[in-house]
């Protein structure tokens, strides 16, 4: 009896440091944030009395747009990351064994440089006089020229006020193109986010792909399946666990993105993260910052919850399938 009690005491003692630390510096602050959302704010930057005014003020046309934009940008980033990560993971998994570790290491190596410095390098690269901007302009002009060639199709940017004449449309389009910079736009934010999060998408998919039995693909081909069909209907379902992990690994930091839109998004691409920082540090509107933080937490935990539920269901289904198959085998065992 005293042995059990002392074991209980040891458990508490060993658990205490981390438990207390995370309780005080993680759980309690989260509750404080939640509590602040039910307060009004005072003119001098303080926190006012209990009220629902903060939640009512969130209907302010500014906020839903920003939340929607954050979710849209995160979806775009996630889609690009997965699209690029799938062939990459496939290619790495099919490399000879000793090459795999090397290439996987090479994918993670960029993380040894400071994240901020890498974003700064992008900022320098995307500068209006930089070479990437020149390429982008050339591409836009080419697009204008192409659009102007097609009869009856006008570049959408030049549509109002530019008249119906193709040449005027093209000129207007070209002027728009000249004004379009990559820096301080959504394109820059998506581009650099994909750059930053891509390794997080490749790694889980690669880990799943490494365990995948590639002879299944050969079997499918032998049975007449085309390459793409086999990739889509056999490889993708075979590594779906990895894909779900990859989606979470990209989507969550994308929702919480702050540095990238701050440094590259300008005024055009302000996401929830930037708004939270602005409200908390510049406007000293703590309740609004708290409410936005709560919204962000919801947009993170909803997909996370869905993924967890899906995983549990998948595991249960696999177990059931295994049971059925075992039962079948046992029944067949009598015959063979």
């Amino acid at each position: 009896m005293s042995g059990a009690a002392s074991s209980r005491k040891t458990e508490w003692l060993v658990t205490l440091p981390s438990f207390a630390w995370l309780l005080v510096f993680f759980a309690v602050p989260a509750l404080i944030v939640l509590a602040f959302t039910f307060h009004g704010h005072t003119a001098n930057g303080g926190v006012g009395d209990w009220s629902l005014s903060t939640w009512r003020e969130l209907v302010d046309p500014d906020y839903p747009t920003i939340v929607w934009k954050t979710i849209r940008v995160s979806f775009e980033v996630t889609a690009w990351c997965i699209l690029l990560a799938l062939p990459c993971a496939y290619a790495i998994a099919r490399l000879p064994k000793r090459w795999r570790a090397l290439v996987a290491g090479a994918i993670m190596l960029p993380f040894w440089t400071s994240f901020v410095v890498r974003v700064f390098a992008w900022k320098t690269m995307l500068h209006p006089t930089g070479w990437l901007q020149t390429c982008y302009h050339a591409y836009l002009h080419f697009k204008c020229w192409l659009l102007a060639l097609l009869p009856g199709v006008h570049a959408p940017a030049a549509a109002p006020g530019a008249g119906n004449d193709c040449l005027i449309g093209m000129a207007g389009c070209a002027i728009d193109a000249a004004k379009t910079t990559i820096l301080d736009s959504e394109i820059a934010v998506v581009l650099v986010s994909v750059y930053s999060f891509l390794p997080f998408a490749i790694m889980p998919i690669y880990t799943a792909a490494e365990k995948f039995d590639f002879s299944l693909l050969e079997a499918a081909r032998d049975l007449g399946a085309k390459n793409f069909y086999a990739f889509r209907n056999i490889f993708i379902p075979g590594i779906r666990q990895g894909i779900v992990s990859a989606v979470l690994m990209v989507f969550i930091p994308a929702i919480g993105s702050y540095v990238i839109p701050q440094m590259l998004g300008g005024t055009e691409c302000v996401l929830i993260g930037n708004k939270i920082f602005m409200r908390a540090m510049q406007n000293r509107n703590i309740p609004h910052a708290s409410a936005l933080a709560t919204l962000m937490a919801v947009s993170v935990f909803v997909p996370l919850g869905i993924a967890m539920w899906w995983r549990k269901r998948q595991a249960a289904r696999d177990r059931r399938r295994l049971e059925v198959r075992t039962a079948q085998l046992m029944a067949a065992g009598g015959v063979s």
Binding site: L22, P110, V116, T124, L304
Partner: protein, 275 residues
């Protein structure tokens, strides 16, 4: 074995995409003109490479004082945060591994949730705590924040190592007459050490790289390397020095990893973890 040509091409392009900025970090460290950030002067002539930023870093030029100060502060905070989070993380991993009650379920949730929390939420909630307790932000608050987000990663790394741990070793030590402390320090800790070191390295890299959480809790005037860099404007005169310093850091980490690989190769092959 059939390899898809298309996927290899995509892989090559992605690798190029990942490495171009790194390459430019190295190249930008040799730019002579820190204001225009260009290798060409106003007349369009190529002005060559310069090593002056490296010279300034090594000789301690006054222009770079703030930058170097933030750099050493980052190192100090990362070092301390690593030590504290390793200590707390080891006890947490041991508790989570050994006991499986309701307390540990709660404990696990508490350790796991920060991993999926965006940085900015951890930052703002800590700021709210410090505001609510009217604590002055500075070195201490940065350290607290860094330990808070590093602990979970350390715990997960050590837990992975503990999964391969043979619990019978502890029983054997007890049977041979060792006490709990002796067993911990002479049996369990040495076996766990690679896991703790791996977790510590992860904590160090996370801490030295963090900008979001730090920028919430650093208060006025205390800057770590990342917050200092992110506060530099486009027209800061010393931008190439940042890139030069980053190149040095990159070289240092590469050397460190190369060295650890070399040491690992020198050691006799131990039973590798199956995970």
């Amino acid at each position: 074995m059939k390899r898809s040509f298309f996927s290899v091409v995509v892989l090559a392009m992605v690798l190029a995409f990942l490495y171009v900025p790194i390459l430019l970090v190295v190249v930008y460290g040799f730019i002579p003109n820190g204001i225009s950030m260009s290798f060409f002067d106003s007349a369009g002539r190529f002005s060559g490479f310069t090593g002056k930023w490296y010279a300034m870093i090594f000789t301690g030029n006054m222009r770079l004082d703030a930058l170097m100060q933030s750099f050493w502060l980052s190192l100090a905070i990362a070092g301390l945060a690593t030590l504290v989070s390793c200590a707390i993380g080891t006890t947490a991993a041991l508790a989570l591994h050994k006991w499986k009650g309701r307390l540990q379920a709660l404990h696990h949730a508490l350790v796991y949730t920060p991993l999926v929390m965006p940085d900015i939420l951890i930052g703002i909630s800590l700021l709210m705590l410090f505001v609510a307790c009217s604590v002055d932000c500075g070195f201490g608050t940065i350290l607290i924040a860094h330990v808070t987000f590093c602990v979970s990663y350390v715990v997960m790394t050590i837990l992975a190592r503990l999964q391969d741990f043979d619990d019978r070793l502890i029983e054997a030590a007890y049977d041979l007459g060792a006490g709990p402390w002796y067993t911990f320090f002479h049996v369990q800790l040495p076996i766990l050490l690679p896991g703790i070191v791996a977790g510590g390295l992860l904590a160090f890299t996370l801490s030295i790289d963090d900008v979001v959480i730090t920028s919430f809790v650093n208060g006025a005037g205390t800057n770590t390397f990342p917050t200092y860099v992110s506060s530099m404007t486009k027209h800061s005169r010393n931008l190439p020095a940042v890139f030069a310093l980053s190149t040095l850091m990159l070289l240092f980490t590469c050397a460190l990893v190369g060295l650890s690989k070399l040491i690992a190769r020198g050691q006799p092959q131990k039973a590798k973890g199956t995970k």
